[in-house]
């Protein structure tokens, strides 16, 4: 059998399977969505918020100590005096040696600097350290505004989708799968216990833009292309879309590995995007594709 025949044969068998099971496939995202809602509900009632926040969203201080300051020793000694103490080691990406230590705490900067200075035994200046401070009121304000920005962004995105396709159900399918991407990513981020920074929230915003690309591709191919069966259209879109997601995933995964050595902010952005695009693959080709097939099959009848 030639390569082409093999592929045709596979398509045929897979098409048969898909025709009989696509509605049942929808149960998987449905279950995950319900689970996510329940989890987030419990999470919200326990924590009074949708995420675990780091200092940039609760207010507090982040101090980068240049040099090889020992992380665990510092944490052991100071966890009582510095509120919600957290440390991260930063490495040089070529030598792999520690270049600095990031100390994050809810304590305000003046106090935190004093405590660290007496622990280290030398004064902190702008040659041996960086200090970032944000007040509780400002960070709460930022948090509210960023959530608002996400809401508006989602709304704008939905409007654009409806304007492009001018067809309610297929557009709704895109919006639903974009929503599922965000909900599932948020849930997994919380399950992993990631403390989110303001940059992390921005990553969610990015995800809104990123995740609908493949959905637009799929919907466009299925709705606007005249020749071929629904399955053929979905399959051709799948080939292109998977390539898109895979390249993004590979690039992001490399970026994540490298940046985790030297930038907490970039590493968090990339982590959230990797998770998000992972879910997007699932939601585009299961949630959105099945909903779209359902709609098209109904319409053809």
């Amino acid at each position: 059998m030639t390569e082409e025949n093999k592929e045709k044969n596979f398509k045929k068998r897979f098409g048969k399977f898909y025709d009989s099971f696509y509605k049942i496939l929808l149960l998987i995202p449905l279950i995950i969505i319900i689970f996510s809602f329940v989890y987030m509900g419990i999470f919200y009632s326990n924590n009074g918020d949708f995420i675990f926040k780091d200092f940039s969203l609760t207010g507090g201080t982040s101090i980068t100590l240049i040099g090889k300051v020992d992380a665990s020793l510092l944490e052991e000694t100071l966890f009582r005096s510095l509120d919600e103490l957290n440390t991260r080691v930063v490495y040089d990406i070529t030598t792999g040696e520690q270049t600095s230590l990031i100390v994050q705490t809810k304590t305000n900067s003046d106090e935190a600097i004093k405590i660290l200075e007496s622990y280290l035994g030398y004064p902190l200046n702008d040659e041996n350290s960086s200090v970032e401070f944000i007040s509780a009121t400002l960070s709460e304000d930022f948090y509210r505004q960023l959530l608002f920005a996400i809401l508006i962004a989602f709304l704008f995105m939905a409007i654009v989708i409806f304007l492009i396709f001018r067809n309610f159900l297929p557009s709704a399918a895109v919006v639903i799968s974009a929503f599922a991407d965000i909900l599932m990513t948020l849930t997994l981020v919380n399950i992993l216990g990631i403390k989110m920074s303001s940059a992390g929230i921005v990553a969610f915003l990015m995800l809104i833009g990123y995740s609908v690309d493949t959905d637009i591709l799929l919907t466009n191919r299925v709705l606007k292309r005249l020749d071929g069966t629904i399955n053929e259209k979905i399959f051709s879109a799948f080939k292109t879309g998977m390539m898109m997601s895979l390249t993004s995933l590979v690039a992001l995964a490399f970026a994540l590995v490298v940046s985790s050595f030297f930038s907490v902010i970039l590493a968090q952005i990339f982590t959230i995007l990797v998770i998000g695009i992972g879910f997007d693959i699932f939601n585009t080709w299961v949630t959105n594709a099945s909903l779209l097939k359902w709609y098209m099959t109904k319409k053809q009848k």
Partner: protein
């Protein structure tokens, strides 16, 4: 031009208008990035700031000069400069330093290192944000008070004035508002963080001199001038204390207006004269209050009783671990007090809601690390594309298009003098990601056998337009949210995707078309 050569040599086809547009865009961007090519070969270091009223300033050192020689030593980089001055001022005596700049020679007599900030000569017009290049940035707002936009710009002026009088160079003060209608003043200072910055910008600076309960003079309002150098403003005596730390006194003169001088006379007239062991003073002291906190109490000598005097000496002190540090702290403290006395107080209490002081040594490796991340990501993607399409030309075209997109973003950023901060760089990475996705759509649509190439590419464009609109719509709110902290992310992404849809994507689809035509 790599691109140019590549296409001509390998494919030997005529360029379409769209490809020409891309080439012109790349050339213009490169021009915007590099600026004057002379900079590439200029040796020396750049003076980025000179402290006002300092010996260096008075001797003629100015911001923007390029230092090429110090005491006959050739200066190629910052290390050379530090080496040339190493140990020179340890004695504390005035020594001569000859600084040769690109177009002048400056001779300094001083007992400390030149009061200037320096940097390497920038090779490109690309500017990095404070979170990468180092510096300080602060966001301040009125405490317990909503201020209007006019009040915010007034506040901006006062702060700007204060920083200038204090002698901080290379500072940008702006008033900004956010999505909830709050007004802030943002201060950005490149280079080293000035000592006591937080107090300087947050202090309301209400300065009152009282004798008993009566106010003699108020900072700003009653002051005609303040001595800033010479014998009328100096750190005069330092001594070691019991706990081994050091203690330095400073003293400077202020000049009062007639009204305040008369007040001084009226109040002191009523006071008794006390004979203490140390000298003869009036019965009450002159108490100095800064923001309602007592900072110093000065004895008033007998001779001033009932006199209309316009000159008053203000004294104070600071401590430090070493004598050098105590001396420096006293000087800083004096400078701060002088600044507040000249500029007067702010109409309300301020709150520093965010303050970042970023060490320049952290960002040093950052840019090269970022470039490595970008290159690794791009190469891995190109490899993946090659594995999938098995065509080296396609992979190369994709890689070059992505690189050209980065060049265009950097070019526009240089042109509008945008400081590339961390969020901006994340935005560039995001743009490249979406760009590659869209190029894959173009390649796949063009492969479709059933419809004509023209139709396929048109369809690809509809998909890309949709993706473009959603990304732009999603990022627009970010431009205003969170006091502009993530503005850079929105900006670079929107520049990138817009350049993509207008320039690189059309050119890429033409390149694909040409490659296809050649194959047939």
């Amino acid at each position: 031009m790599v691109y140019d050569k590549e296409t001509k040599m390998k494919f030997n086809f005529s360029f379409t208008l769209r490809i020409w547009i891309l080439i012109v865009a790349i050339l213009l961007s490169l021009l915007a990035i590099v600026g004057s090519p002379i900079n590439l070969f200029q040796q020396g270091i750049l003076v980025t700031g000179v402290e006002q009223n300092s010996t260096s300033f008075e001797s003629g050192l100015r911001q923007g000069q390029i230092i090429i020689e110090v005491d006959g030593n050739l200066i190629k980089d910052i290390d050379d400069y530090s080496m040339a001055l190493l140990g020179k001022f340890d004695s504390g005596e005035n020594v001569k330093t000859i600084i040769k700049t690109k177009d002048s020679e400056i001779i300094l007599f001083s007992n400390n290192t030149p009061e200037i900030t320096i940097s390497e000569i920038p090779k490109t017009n690309i500017k990095t944000g404070l979170d990468i290049s180092g510096g300080a940035r602060a966001l301040i707002k009125a405490q317990d008070k909503e201020i209007s936009s006019t009040e915010a710009s007034e506040l901006k002026e006062v702060i700007n004035n204060r920083l200038n009088v204090y002698g901080i160079e290379d500072v940008k003060v702006s008033s900004i508002s956010d999505l909830s209608g709050n007004y802030y003043v943002r201060i950005e200072i490149a280079g080293a963080t000035p000592e006591g910055l937080k107090e300087l910008i947050s202090q309301q600076g209400k300065f009152e001199a009282k004798i008993g309960d009566e106010v003699v003079f108020i900072g700003g309002k009653d002051i005609t001038s303040v001595s800033r150098s010479g014998q009328d403003a100096l750190v005069e005596s330092c001594s070691q204390q019991a706990d081994n730390s050091y203690f330095c006194n400073f003293r400077f003169s202020v000049y009062l207006n007639e009204e305040a001088a008369k007040r001084h006379a009226d109040i002191t007239k009523e006071l008794d004269v006390n004979y203490t062991g140390g000298g003869v003073y009036l019965s009450k002291k002159l108490d100095l209050f800064l923001d309602d906190k007592l900072v110093d109490s000065l004895f008033i000598s007998e001779g001033l009783k009932g006199r209309v005097t316009t000159q008053i000496s203000i004294t104070g002190s600071s401590t430090g671990f070493t004598q050098e540090e105590a001396n420096k702290n006293a000087r800083d403290e004096m400078n701060k007090l002088q600044t507040i006395l000249i500029t007067g107080s702010l109409p309300y209490q301020l709150e520093v809601v965010s303050l970042d002081t970023i060490s320049s040594s952290i960002g040093k490796n950052f840019v090269s690390s970022i470039i490595k991340v970008g290159l690794i990501a791009l190469l891995s993607v190109s490899l993946l594309i090659f594995l999938r399409y098995k065509k080296i030309k396609l992979s190369l075209a994709l890689l070059l298009t992505s690189i050209s997109e980065i060049v265009i973003i950097l070019g526009i950023a240089s042109l509008i003098k945008w400081n590339l901060d961390l969020p901006s760089i994340a935005g560039i990475l995001a743009t490249i990601g979406t760009g590659i996705d869209q190029q894959i759509i173009i390649m796949d649509e063009s492969k479709e056998p059933s419809s004509s190439l023209q139709q396929s590419l048109k369809r690809a464009f509809m998909i890309i337009l949709g993706a473009y609109l959603t990304v732009t719509a999603a990022l627009l709110p970010l431009y205003w949210a969170a006091a502009g902290f993530f503005k850079g992310f929105a900006l670079t992404t929107i520049i990138g995707v817009t350049a993509g849809i207008l320039i690189t994507r059309p050119a890429f689809s033409d390149i694909i078309k040409k490659i296809k035509e050649r194959e047939e």
